[in-house]
């Protein structure tokens, strides 16, 4: 079973310095909205950024242990811009 903390740990196992925020959208530990801010995203398209995170969860998505992730990804720079608007 996933919970927000395990989602965060799973991402940080691959991207140790990433900032991760997880919201359990409906409270069933199965539909999560995940926001990831990582330096590793720099220079990558948003599709490529999402692919990096989806790749981390692919085994769990394929097995059905995890239903779906709604993703938001930002480079540290984009995150700062977004929050200064």
């Amino acid at each position: 079973m996933f919970n927000p903390q395990r989602i965060q740990q799973t991402i940080q196992a691959t991207l140790p310095l990433a900032q991760v925020q997880v919201v359990d959208l409906v409270g069933d530990n199965n539909h999560f909205e995940v926001t990831v801010i990582a330096k590793e995203f720099e220079g990558k398209s948003m599709v490529a950024q999402h692919q990096m995170i989806n790749e981390i969860f692919r085994p769990y998505l394929n097995s059905g242990e995890l239903h779906a992730l709604s993703l938001k990804t930002y480079t540290p720079q984009k995150w700062e811009q977004r929050n200064s608007i």
């Binding site: 948003m46 599709v47 999402h50 692919q51 998505l61 709604s70 993703l71 938001k72």
Partner: protein
Amino acid sequence: MSDIQNKLKEVIQNNNVVLFMKGTPQAPQCGFSARVVKILDSYQVPFQGIDVLADNNIREGVKQYSNWPTLPQLFVKGEFVGGCDIVSELHQNGELKDILAKVK
């Protein structure tokens, strides 16, 4: 490459803006597809909508083509832009305007 992959490639390369979606632009069958149609309409950009519910080979084939697990999927000038979450985000941060400016 299989027939379906060749066919998809042809459609994606030969149309400026292609949206693979559930239902048609006039009658979307899924909230996420409807949201992307609404965003595209707001830019008044003509696009080719392809209903994946009409053909399961297309539905599965496009996921393979883009290596992306969900629908809808938006392609502009032959490039995969993203699904509903990404298109919404690019719409909000202004980048979609630049992407679609290429086809006007």
